[in-house]
């Protein structure tokens, strides 16, 4: 999702070393599987592994020569450069802050929305509401972000018109640093929360109803049941959603390109956007050094989560 | 029709040895049942025979020919799986015909054989239907039919009845027994249910932790379990175990003092040394109850299970953690807490030494004792 991308933690198991036992005959006997996997392997290598490796290599080269047949290697100079660039450091912290805020906001609100949607009182309205929540997930973000950009326009945006009708003060939208940051938090929430809600909703439907019935028999109130019966059972779903959300929001990009271009006063200059703007000016070395840093952060997080899950499994 | 020999067959998954080197012979037309608790390796053994798992050592011989490196489809076997494994996108007919069609069998031959198998299992009327419209029992029949169609040398069954409800299970058990009789084929059957094993098998192979504990006919295993595990596993309700110490031996007799009080003297020439801890095993039908006047072990009734023609009385005795079950003929009513005397028939006793092995005089001596009692 680009929801496109999400990291399946169990696949880290692939890190285990392969066994190359009597390889020759094994390969011949399983040639059909090699044939089946060949296109996939080729695609993964050409459009995945190669670019990643190339990306890391280029991050060690002088941007000016990066695309020539014999690039000049400057080794860690690009990394030194970006880490002595205040704008990069601030965008790194800003990205992390944005990620934490968004993860908490999305996971909690998605959980709340899912609980409400699964309550019996909504009846037939629930599926319609669920569809509405999910709609932004599948619609082109170029369109939805442009719409939101105009909705937040302080000149003729619907948001301020609405606030005015309600007698509330205007909202600065993307025109002031702090407000712009939160505008993006909101728009990203609007775009993604449906996905997390649906995951929670599906998990809620899979819950063991007898536990809830038992709690009901014990006289637990709704909130007590939510807190003591449902949420503990949803813990795996909360974990999965959090992982997805962390990865989702770490790479926040399109919304910046479309709505703020990193402004105002760099208040929404997130890491991937900053890297991309370096790329646009052919600063390949620094752009890919930044990409590599972000990649390392994602891998680090994934490993931590994987370790944690592994431990939890043995509990 | 074929016989199967395993020769020091073993199987490991990485460092874990799930099957320790084992020998086994299953003769032509025999119905062999692999039984054991879950995780004992019985399914792995079956799957290794089938060729679905690679063996790590030893030989598998079918009719004397080594098949370890032969593809499973060329071993001439068929298998019935626990979850039926019917192809959901094919009709019953297509399911049963699949193997033959793969083998490029002529069309009318396919039809003939499928119809024949369907007739044996009485599923002719559902050949056009899809698996999802069938009940569990019907699906199991189709799965068996699919095996029959292929006319295999050996039929393999992997816990085929465990997904069925109790009533259906009994019914299908009988049908499989009848099928074995009709076809006279060699069959290997895996189950964790010792009742199925007892009722179906010509030969039971008891496995535990990847090792064969004992091989024999159902009654051999019942009457002369080789060790404490087999003794406890075969028979329902299970054998009772009482701890004791050898207090005297000689003259072909072994005298054991029970921890719960009382003594048992068994005929045993090669008895453990005096003072050695042993376990006495006795089946519920060899435990009887007497009044306070009778000589025996004092026991307290925990509960009684009324089965109509007989009653299982659960007793608590000193020095034994679990309950001792006595199988009493007829309908007996005993209030829990009642004190009774428990009596053990010495001829029904099995003696297990410290390592759990049964100590028993050579088979030749047994009939004498039996005659004596």
């Amino acid at each position: 999702m680009q929801t496109d991308t999400a990291v399946p933690i169990p696949f880290l198991a692939a890190l285990r070393p392969a066994r190359w036992r009597h390889a020759g005959s094994n390969i011949w006997r399983n040639r059909i599987f090699y044939i089946l996997i060949a296109p996939f392997a080729a695609l993964t290598l050409v459009m995945g592994v190669w670019p990643i490796v190339l990306g890391i290599i280029v991050s060690f080269t002088d941007s000016y020569t990066a695309l020539t047949p014999e690039p000049t290697y400057v080794w860690f100079q690009n990394y030194i450069d970006i880490f002595s660039d205040d704008l990069f450091l601030s965008s790194l912290w800003r990205t992390l802050l944005f990620t934490v805020l968004s993860v908490v906001l999305n996971v909690t609100t998605a959980l709340a929305l899912a609980l409400i949607l699964s309550s019996r009182s909504l009846k037939l309205a629930a599926p319609i509401c669920g569809l509405a929540l999910f709609l932004p997930v599948v619609t082109p973000e170029a369109a939805t972000f442009i719409v939101w950009k105009w909705m937040f326009s302080i000149d003729f945006g619907a948001v301020n018109a609405f606030l005015e009708d309600m007698g509330l003060p205007d909202f600065a939208g993307t025109t002031k640093p702090l407000q712009a940051f939160f505008t993006l938090v909101f728009v990203e929430w609007w775009h993604h929360v449906g996905f997390y809600t649906i995951i929670f909703l599906t998990n809620l439907k899979l819950l063991d109803p007898t536990l809830d019935e038992a709690a009901r028999m014990d006289g637990a109130r709704t909130m007590q049941r939510v807190w003591n019966v449902w949420i503990p059972q949803l813990r795996p779903a909360i974990a999965i959603n959090s992982i997805y959300a962390v990865i989702q929001f770490l790479k926040t990009f399109a919304v910046v390109v479309i709505m703020t271009n990193g402004g105002p006063n760099y208040a929404t200059n997130f890491l991937s956007f900053y890297a991309y703007s370096k790329f646009n000016l052919a600063d390949y070395g620094q752009a890919l050094a930044m990409a590599t840093v972000l990649f390392a952060i994602v891998i680090g997080l994934a490993v931590v989560v994987y370790r944690y899950n592994e431990k939890a499994d043995y509990r | 029709m074929a016989k199967l020999n395993l020769n020091q067959l073993s199987k490991s998954f990485g460092p874990v040895e799930v099957l320790k080197p084992m020998d086994l012979e299953i003769t032509d037309g025999e119905f062999a049942v692999f039984v054991g608790p879950s995780g004992c390796g019985k399914s792995t053994l079956l799957r290794t025979i089938a060729g679905l798992e690679e063996s790590s050592g030893g030989d598998i011989l079918i009719d004397g020919a080594r098949v370890n490196d032969t593809d499973s489809s060329e071993r001439g076997l068929s298998m019935v799986f626990q979850n039926y494994a019917l192809y959901p996108h094919m009709t019953i007919f297509e399911n049963m015909a699949f193997g033959l069609r793969i083998a490029k069998t002529p069309k009318d031959e396919v039809t003939r054989r499928v119809n024949k198998a369907a007739a044996i299992l009485k599923i002719e009327h559902m050949l056009d239907r899809y698996p999802k419209t069938l009940s569990g029992g019907q699906r199991q029949r189709v799965a068996i039919g699919r095996s029959i169609v292929r006319d295999p040398k050996i039929f393999l069954f992997d816990e085929p009845l465990s997904n069925l409800d109790a009533e259906l299970r009994v019914q299908m058990r009988i049908e499989i027994a009848r099928l074995h009789e009709t076809l006279g084929a060699t069959m290997i059957y895996v189950t964790h249910d010792q009742v199925e094993a007892m009722t179906l098998a010509d030969k039971i192979v008891v496995l535990k932790d990847g090792r064969i504990e004992q091989v024999g006919s159902p009654l051999d295993l019942y009457n002369a379990p080789a060790n404490r595990f087999v003794a406890g596993f075969i028979g329902s309700p299970g054998m009772n175990f009482l701890d004791g110490t050898v207090e005297g031996a000689g003259n072909g007799q072994c005298c054991v003092a029970l921890a719960c009080g009382g003594h048992v003297a068994l005929p045993l020439r090669d008895a453990p040394a005096v003072g050695a801890p042993v376990t006495i095993g006795v089946r519920p039908e060899h435990v009887s109850l007497g009044g306070a006047a009778d000589e025996g072990v004092a026991a307290t009734v925990l509960l009684t299970e009324q089965l109509g023609d007989e009653t299982h009385v659960h007793l608590s005795v000193k020095g034994s953690e679990g309950a001792i079950v006595a199988q009493v003929r007829g309908q007996v009513k005993l209030r829990s807490g009642t004190g009774v005397t428990m009596m053990i028939a010495p001829e029904g006793c099995h003696l297990f030494d410290e390592t759990g092995l049964a100590r028993r005089d050579p088979a030749a001596a047994q009939p004498e004792i039996a005659a004596a009692s």
């Binding site: 326009s153 000149d155 600065a172 993307t174 025109t175 271009n261 760099y266 646009n280 000016l281 | -």
Partner: protein, 428 residues
């Protein structure tokens, strides 16, 4: 099966062909929109009369895409035959790729009349590090425009000084000059969304008012805290602090947003470029309702003037399949008949000897200047690192817009020192 494979291979080969490549086609990338495309293709039709079989295709990209695509294409040898843009952007792509080899030969090969008609200023602006990098085709002038009906509505005249601008701006914002009954107008439209657009505004106001330099002088000394420069900066910051003078969004605005306000009738004062007027003449509500004039004055001793905003130039790329043909086309674009087409579509050419008949009043304002044209210092042509300095300076400006400095003098002094450090850094 084998046939299928062949078809697949053929299809794949077809897919792998770049779209629209052909030997006798010249491709130009520019960022001047549909009118720019018409302009180049019309010149192409004239050119084809002398070179039968040649077609010229022009593609317009959004400016940021033009920049990144041109850089990437030069670096990967996938560029089109010709690239056209403002001189400072050609400088940027050269600094990011180093692939352009200059046009001295082309200029030397021009006929005498054409060579003589090329202003020296335009050639200077087309020079980077001492090499004549690009062929100037248009000299763009920046002026100031005010909505005439709005002036009438609030009872004002064309603003001559910045004090006038602030006063009129306030009235525009509060007195509903368009009479639509709603409070939706601003005094001025501006762009401050990134370093280069903000710089353009500062240059327009600064050079137009007679400054010689903006941040640094020809030697690279920081002149920011020079009283005249400081006044410009202070005035610029004041624009953002005056209530309603500009839309609060301005801090994010690039020219599209700015044009949105202008063309949508939301702002009363704005920048006018030669390139704008042809399009604006066709916009209902705007055409005929704005007065073009000199830049508001900052200093009493300077005459009212306009700014030489940029020189729009063309380069032949090394990846061109037909470099000679491309060069011929570029030179052809300097011929009087081509220049006339440019004037008609984009409001300007570079030659001083083009006939001006058939132009609208607004076009004539730029084609035949009535005011002195103060040149931009075009320091990016002199210092390769100038854009980076611009960016550093922009960070300070945008920070000051977001958090107005309490003591401006101290701020400008501190900023000048920072820039001095930055220059020292960059010179290394």
């Amino acid at each position: 099966m084998r046939n299928g494979l062949k078809q697949c291979a053929a299809a794949a080969a077809l897919l792998a062909l770049p779209v629209g490549a052909s030997a006798q086609e010249l491709l130009i990338w520019h960022d001047k929109g549909d009118l720019g495309t018409v302009m180049f293709e019309d010149i192409g039709k004239l050119f084809a009369e002398e070179h039968p079989g040649v077609t010229v295709r022009a593609l317009s990209f959004p400016t940021d895409q033009w920049l990144s695509k041109s850089i990437a294409a030069l670096n990967t040898n996938t560029a089109p035959d010709l690239l056209f843009n403002d001189n400072f952007r050609i400088n940027v792509i050269q600094q990011s790729s180093g692939k352009l080899s200059g046009v001295q030969d082309m200029v030397d090969g021009l006929d005498d009349a054409t060579r003589a008609a090329l202003p020296e200023g335009a050639l200077d602006a087309s020079t980077l590090d001492g090499t004549l990098l690009m062929l100037p085709l248009q000299q763009a002038t920046g002026a100031f425009g005010v909505r005439t009906s709005w002036l009438e509505a609030v009872g004002e005249e064309y603003p001559e000084t910045w004090e006038d601008v602030f006063r009129i701006g306030k009235k525009f914002a509060t007195e509903d000059p368009d009479g639509n009954g709603s409070d939706d107008t601003f005094g001025m439209a501006l762009q401050a969304g990134n370093p280069s657009v903000t710089h353009q505004m500062l240059e327009l106001f600064g050079f137009g008012a007679g400054l010689d330099h903006l941040i640094i002088d020809d030697e690279g000394n920081v002149v920011l805290d020079d009283p005249r420069n400081a006044k410009l900066i202070q005035t610029f910051l004041r624009i953002f602090q005056e209530e309603g003078l500009v839309s609060p969004d301005t801090i994010n605005h690039v020219f599209t947003d700015m044009y949105q306000l202008i063309e949508g009738g939301r702002a009363g004062m704005f920048r006018v470029l030669d390139a704008n007027v042809v399009k604006w003449d066709g916009i209902e509500g705007l055409a005929g309702d704005y007065t073009i004039g000199p830049i508001p004055s900052l200093f009493e001793d300077e005459p009212p003037a306009v700014e030489m905003h940029s020189v729009r130039s063309i380069v032949v790329t090394p990846s061109s399949d037909n470099p000679e043909l491309a060069a011929q086309y570029a030179a052809f674009a300097l011929q009087p008949e081509s220049q006339a087409i440019m004037l008609k579509n984009k409001g300007s050419g570079v030659r001083g000897d083009i006939p001006l008949d058939g132009l609208s009043d607004t076009q004539a304002f730029f084609a035949k200047p009535q005011y002195p044209v103060n040149p931009n210092d075009f320091l990016s042509a002199k210092f390769a690192w100038y854009p980076e300095l611009q960016e550093a300076f922009y960070r300070e400006i945008s920070d000051a817009i977001a958090n107005p400095p309490a003591d401006f003098d101290a701020w400008i002094k501190a900023t000048a020192e920072k820039m001095q450090d930055k220059v020292a850094d960059l010179k290394d």
